[in-house]
Structure formats: C-alpha cells, structure tokens
Symmetry: C2
C-alpha cells in the first residue's frame, strides 16, 4: 500500500478521521439544539445521516481496517447530499424569502452553523474517500 | 489506457456523455418553463450549473480529449450539490409545508420533474467521473 497523505495507518489518516468525527459531532449537537429541526426533512436528514455516520464510520475507520473502510467511504456522497439539501433550505429561508426575519422562532443562525460544520466534516471525509479510492484503484 | 466501460473512445463512453447531455438539457428546459424559478437560489443554481455544464463539458468530452476530460469531471460534485439543494427546497415546499397546495402559482410538479432529470444526468456523469478517476489512478 502506498504511503499517501491520509491513508490508513498514517497519523494524517487518523487526524482526518478524528476531525470528521469532531466536526460531525459538533454539527449534530448544534442542529439538535435548534428546536423544530426535525419538522424539516432536509435538516432531519442531515442530522440523522451525520449522526449515523459518526458512530458507525469515523471511529471504526480510525482502527485502520482497510477492507471495511472503503465501503462506508462511499457514503461521503450521502454526506454531501445531506449538507447541500440543508443548505438549499437555509438559503431559501434566510435569503430568498423573509422567513428568518418574520418567523423569529426559527433558529436560522443555528441551522447555518450546523450546516457549515457538516460541510467541514464532509470536506475532511472527501479527502479520506479520495485517498482510499486512489489506493484501491492503484493496487 | 484500460478498456473500461464508459472510458473515452468507447461507444459506452459516448453514450454516457450523450445521456448526460440529453437529461441535463431536459432538466434545463423543464426548469426554465417554470415561472419564477430564478427567485429561488437552489433552483437558479441547479439551472445555471446544469446549463453551463452541458454546453462546456458533455459535448466536448464526447470528442475524447482525455487530458481535458478529467478536470471538468470533478464538477460532478457540483452537479450533485445543485440537485440536492433543489431537492431540499422541493421537499420543504411540497411535504414539510403546505406551500404547494396553498400557493397554486408555484410550479411544484415542474420543479420535481426538473430535479429528477438533473439527478439522472448526475448519475450518468458520476459513472463517467468514476471511470475517468479510476483510469487516472491506475495509469
């Protein structure tokens, strides 16, 4: 196996996984603190997917099980899908319409922070997925 | 270069590119027929990105220029982002709230069809991107 940045067994790989886990956990926590997030499918999906992903994927991958690692890495596509769908809704509520200004009970700032954290988590996951895929193709 | 399904120079590769172009064009046409789509950022972004992508990417790639092909293939991530952000908004309007039932002037069915077509286009593009990336990694 080539020694690429972020590959399993490398310190950089472990740091990437820890970073994914931390940012995903922060995104989950911030989203959960916003009341009524579960009534919007995009927010609920982002929260649920990130939650599932964090607990089943990032920590187990830090144990460097290569054969297991490549399968859940495919879910980085779902992470991006979740973050983007939530972003579409946040932009609709805060910029395209006046809902965030009119409906004061909407926790728009909280949603924005949670989505931003989900994007950072996805970016770190994308690096790991890229490296894993590269390793798999070059074997 | 390995002879993989969908690789440049293969009939399957050309068919994939033609499929991407057709579905993306259909998505653009359907979205453009929905009045007021440009006031929603997610719909506007989906339309603009798909439009740009179709004209600059899919057709030029069918000419089998490998060195040029790998760069725009990265934009498949942006295509997914566009489709997902629009999906988030469509689900918000049609399922999470009653906007589609109350606001009859909203062309919800048209938005749904356009987003579905964008997803099909992205799926075909993802196959091409996957193959191109695999070829690049295994060179």
């Amino acid at each position: 196996m080539k020694d690429l940045f972020g590959s399993p067994g490398q310190v950089s790989g472990l740091l990437l996984r820890i970073g994914q886990c931390l940012f995903a956990s922060a995104s989950i926590g911030v989203m959960a603190s916003a009341s009524g997030f579960s009534t919007t499918t995009a927010f609920w999906y982002t929260h649920t997917h990130t939650h599932t992903h964090t607990h089943t994927h990032s920590l187990s991958l830090s144990l460097c099980i290569f054969s297991v690692a490549i399968i859940p890495d495919v879910t980085s596509v779902l992470s991006l899908a979740a973050a983007c769908s939530a972003t579409g809704v946040v932009i609709l509520l805060s910029r395209d319409t006046n809902f965030c200004r009119v409906e004061k009970q909407l926790a728009c700032s909280t949603f924005k922070i949670s989505v931003a954290l989900a994007f950072v988590s996805w970016f770190l996951l994308a690096i790991s997925s890229f490296v894993m895929f590269w390793l798999l193709a070059s074997v």
